[in-house]
Amino acid sequence: MFTQPIISLLSLLALATLLFSCGDEKNVDPTEDNERITTISLQFINKADPKDAVVLTLDNIGADGTQPTSSSTSGSLKPYAAYSMAVVLGDRSKNPAEDVTAKIKAEANEHLFVYTPSSGLNLGITLSDLDTNPAPGPYPVGLTANASTGPPSTGKLNVVLRHQPGTKNGKATPGTSDLDVNFDVVVR
């Protein structure tokens, strides 16, 4: 009388153990972010002298988003000059590395780059590209821009990539930030 239910239950337990084998937890998956940006470069080309090219790069932006303490630069911007600027974003944590710039370009209608020089840095940036948002658009995107320098100075250039799905209106306020980093900029 006792045995019948016990046997049926034990067989059920055995079946369950077989079906749901344990031990998976010891194989730990690496952290994987669908939307990482590890690298951002600002490429400046002097409009008067195409050989005067300056590239500011922030690399190894941490998996947790921590920003590297210093940026690598290939020279400094000349004073009183006009540059055309392009931004390049990449994810080198993936193999092969991902071109994030192209993805932003594809989603240009909901993205906006906001460039803010720190006070004292004589650098002006005007966005030079447009998205295809319907009226009252189109609005600037900021993948390319015109940069003009003033007297020699140093400071930080804050770059924020805003994601504004359905709310883009040409202003920085709506939406959320995908990236918020600072470059060290020298004009001399």
Binding site: Q4, L9, N34, E35, R36, G65, K103, D178
Partner: protein, 791 residues
């Protein structure tokens, strides 16, 4: 062949009673008398006698006598009901059992809306502060999530994440401090997350019982706040195939739900005697909820659930296999998706969300996709001399995928993936009740609970992979004599946890291990001051070991706008809980008053760091897990007064004070005081077609939560710093509701119809316990229609 014939006959008898009534041999009679057990079996005039299968009934006369004529021979389930008494139902065979003498037991409280009983059956006989939702009161909440429907019980609240996620709170405690037992099995569904609602189909429940206060002894560690028992309907015993169909429609969110079951039991005189089965399923869908003035983008949800139950019950033993599957996709309000603290403050400053789309059933990122499977087996053996021995084993798998809003990646994979596998086994022996020489009765049980669970994560890191094991044993003994009931319990638990991490530089897996053990006890006393007045008190301790999230969480929490850091040095929480309840059940007035005091040492909570964490996307408020001495004390009151025979006033009030005694401060997310008052009119008119007609109006008032940590914010070095909370608590609010219901007899089909209107004045308000309160108002007016029919 004989089986088939008997089956067909039973089907005919049970399913086609109206046709059978026309047959010439329908001359049987059911008659008898109904009385009450105390004092001296006084007759009960006006009690209801109701034959379930036939939908026929009558009332007793001045001397408690009743008579129903023109019944066909057959098997029937008869219910005997009287307000203030426990409903008694029995299965009879006509013409054999045609004369009945029925004694009804007085009930502690028997309100038409909320039904609170003193329990003396199974696990619910525990001498603890309990409340339940069943019958009509539960039917009124059909279509709502489990967390929402439980709010009808005093002392229960819910923490919401938008309109689709509702997490139960008992006396101010939630998450892992509440145990949810789904059909007797401890539900393990990553309940540590404040936006993780219980993964249980509300339609499965035929009764929701809540034990308020520490109830660790019987149900295992962690139950510092209480236990929620989700119990399905009892299996059928009457042969034949029957079923139930529920349909719910609601205007807000244009929600639709259908749920039904088919069940059957084999005939009592064949080889399959004792076999019963049930198959149940639910489909539910809703689109964008509407706050007064605008739709809440992406607050849609979809739910598909299925369960099957098979029982084989003999006289002394039985076996049961139960399987359930819960599939849920929940959209999160898009307006609450902010990238950083700066964006958060910008969003809080907006009186209304920026995006106000038209209605849609669309469900896009961000959303949660959750599957929960449960397979349970149970067996028992019982006899007069041995008592009852029950073995229950279960395995459950919870797969949670959280999809964040994407900016530029076009991928199908989630940002967070967690798979939790849990196996549990419980062996419990209830010894036979023994009567001693003083007339007292001893009852009690001993048991062992074992649990092992493994967690596997993928994609972003929030909590680690881990393996947890738990083993516990308990003994509970109860002694009842005259007007006194005493109950004492002891429990001992051991718990281990090993968390696994990957060093991404060396690709090596390393682990961290913990072990805790703890002994706890409880003592309960109940005294019947008068037949209609009972005083119950309970003192108990309970503990909770820190879980993997408390210890090792590290990451940005979706929708929480928070960077959470675990603390590997946390110690277990220890609760000291006291309850006192007074229940009065008079002719006009029924009342239940309860006070509680819950002191928790090492209470684990998320402490805001003063300096935010800077990440790729900006500054985020950072929290780390910390421990304080916390005190939760409060009062639950349910009062029901019969103004006339038809008109009843019911008031449900929950008051709660909570504080952090270590820092002499308040705690966040403590439910504000609330009171729900209603007037209900029940029409006595009964026709062949219409019965049980009622109308009800109700007003819910929720106070502003003023006992919160001081809220402040400043900009330091260009970085916003906040204290306490992101914004002060919203003002209090009052909502008007109304409801009407009736039972209809359409041919041979019985139909129950309930129409409910909530927030009828379309009041714009925000609730302190909604984690999206910073961004949008709560949903506005909602009219829902609930239909139920059986076959």
């Amino acid at each position: 062949m004989r089986f088939v014939l008997v089956f067909a006959y039973t089907l005919l008898m049970a399913g086609l009673p109206t046709y059978a009534q026309l047959a010439p041999n329908c001359t049987a009679t059911l008659s008898g008398q109904i009385g009450q057990s105390l004092p001296n079996r006084m007759a009960l005039p006006g009690a209801t006698v109701y034959i379930d299968g036939l939908k026929r009934g009558t009332l007793t006369d001045a001397n408690g006598f009743f008579r129903i004529d023109n019944l066909c021979p057959g098997t029937y389930t008869v219910e005997y009901r009287f307000v203030g008494f426990t409903t008694f139902s029995e299965t009879i065979r006509l013409p054999l059992d045609s004369i009945r003498t029925i004694t009804l037991q007085s009930d502690a409280v028997n309100l038409p809306g909320l039904e609170i009983h003193e329990h003396r059956s199974e696990a619910r006989q525990l001498l603890q502060n309990q409340a339940e939702l069943s019958g009509v009161a539960l039917d009124q909440t059909r279509g709502q999530s489990l967390g929402e429907s439980l709010k009808n019980i005093v002392g229960l609240y819910s923490i919401q994440t938008g309109p689709s996620i509702s997490k139960p709170v008992i006396h101010g405690l939630y998450s892992n401090r509440i145990l949810v037992l789904n059909n007797g099995i401890r539900q393990e569904d990553q309940q540590w997350g404040s936006e993780h609602a219980p993964q249980i189909d509300q339609f499965v429940a035929s009764r929701l019982t809540v034990i308020k206060g520490a109830a660790s002894i019987r149900y295992g560690s962690d139950a510092i706040g209480g236990v929620i028992l989700v119990e399905p309907k009892a299996m059928p015993s009457v042969p034949g195939v029957h079923g139930d169909l529920n349909a719910v429609g609601a205007t807000n969110g244009r929600m639709g739900a259908v749920s039904g079951y088919v069940e059957g039991a084999s005939s009592t005189d064949n080889a399959f005697r004792g076999l019963s089965w049930r198959v149940q399923g639910t489909l539910k869908q809703a689109g964008y909820a509407r706050a007064p003035g605008y739709f809440l983008e992406n607050t849609s949800f979809r739910e598909r659930n299925f369960s099957a139950d098979l029982h084989y019950d003999k006289k002394q033993w039985g076996v049961e296999v139960f399987f359930s599957q819960f599939n849920n996709r929940l959209g999160l309000f898009r307006g609450a998706q902010v990238g950083s603290l700066t964006d958060l403050y910008a969003a809080i400053a907006r009186p209304e969300p920026l995006v106000q789309p038209d209605f849609s059933y669309a469900l896009a990122r961000p959303y949660q996709d959750i599957n929960h499977h449960l397979l349970k087996g149970r067996t028992y053996y019982r006899s007069e001399t041995f008592g009852e021995l029950t073995l229950t084993v279960a395995t459950q798998t919870n797969v949670r995928e959280e999809y964040d809003m994407l900016s530029f990646a076009r991928v199908e994979t989630p940002e967070l993936y967690l798979k939790l596998n849990t196996q549990t086994a419980d062996l419990i022996w209830e010894h036979p009740t023994r009567r001693d020489q003083f007339g007292g009765v001893w009852s009690g049980s001993v048991g062992v609970n074992a649990l092992t669970q493994g967690n596997v994560r993928r994609f972003l890191f929030l909590i680690p992979n881990f393996r947890a094991n738990a083993l516990g044993g308990f003994v509970i003994e109860r002694y009842a004599r005259n007007r006194w009931v005493f109950e004492g319990g002891l429990r001992y638990d051991v718990r281990t946890l090993r968390a696994f991490f990957l060093n991404e530089q060396t690709n090596q897996v390393f682990s961290r291990a913990h072990q805790w053990d703890n002994a706890n006890g409880s003592l309960g006393i109940s005294y019947q001051l008068r037949p209609d007045l009972t005083l119950t008190t309970n003192l108990s301790t309970a503990w909770r070991a820190p879980n993997a999230s408390d210890l090792y969480a590290n990451g940005l929490h979706q929708s929480a706008v928070a960077f959470e850091r675990g603390n590997p040095n946390l110690r277990p929480e220890q609760a000291f809980n006291g309850n006192l309840a007074l229940a009065y059940a008079g002719k006009q007035l029924t009342m239940e008053l309860g006070v509680y005091n819950n002191l928790i040492q090492n209470y684990i909570y998320l402490k805001p760091d003063s300096v935010p964490t800077i990440r790729q996307r900006g500054a985020f408020p950072a929290y780390s897990y910390d421990q304080v001495r916390a005190l939760f004390r409060g009062l639950d009151a349910t009062i029901s007064y019969k103004l006339t025979n038809a008109l009843t006033f019911t008031s449900k009030t929950s008051l709660l004070w909570a504080s952090d005694q270590t820092n002499r401060d308040y705690l966040v997310l403590v439910p504000p005081n609330r009171t729900d008052n209603s007037l209900r009119y029940e029409f006595s008119t009964k026709t062949v077609r219409v019965s049980g007609l009622y109308v009800q109006v109700s007003a819910l008032a929720v106070a502003r939560q003023n006992r919160v940590p001081a809220v402040s914010r400043e900009i330091r070095d260009g970085v916003p710093i906040f204290r306490g909370d992101f914004a002060p608590p919203p003002p209090g609010y009052a909502l008007l509701g109304a409801e009407a219901g009736l039972n209809l007899q359409l041919g041979k089909r019985a139909l129950s119809l309930i129409v409910t209107g909530s927030n009828l004045l379309n009041t714009a308000y925000r609730d302190y316990l909604n984690r999206f309160r910073y961004f949008a108002d709560e949903p506005g007016r909602n009219i829902s229609v609930k239909l139920k029919t059986n076959f």
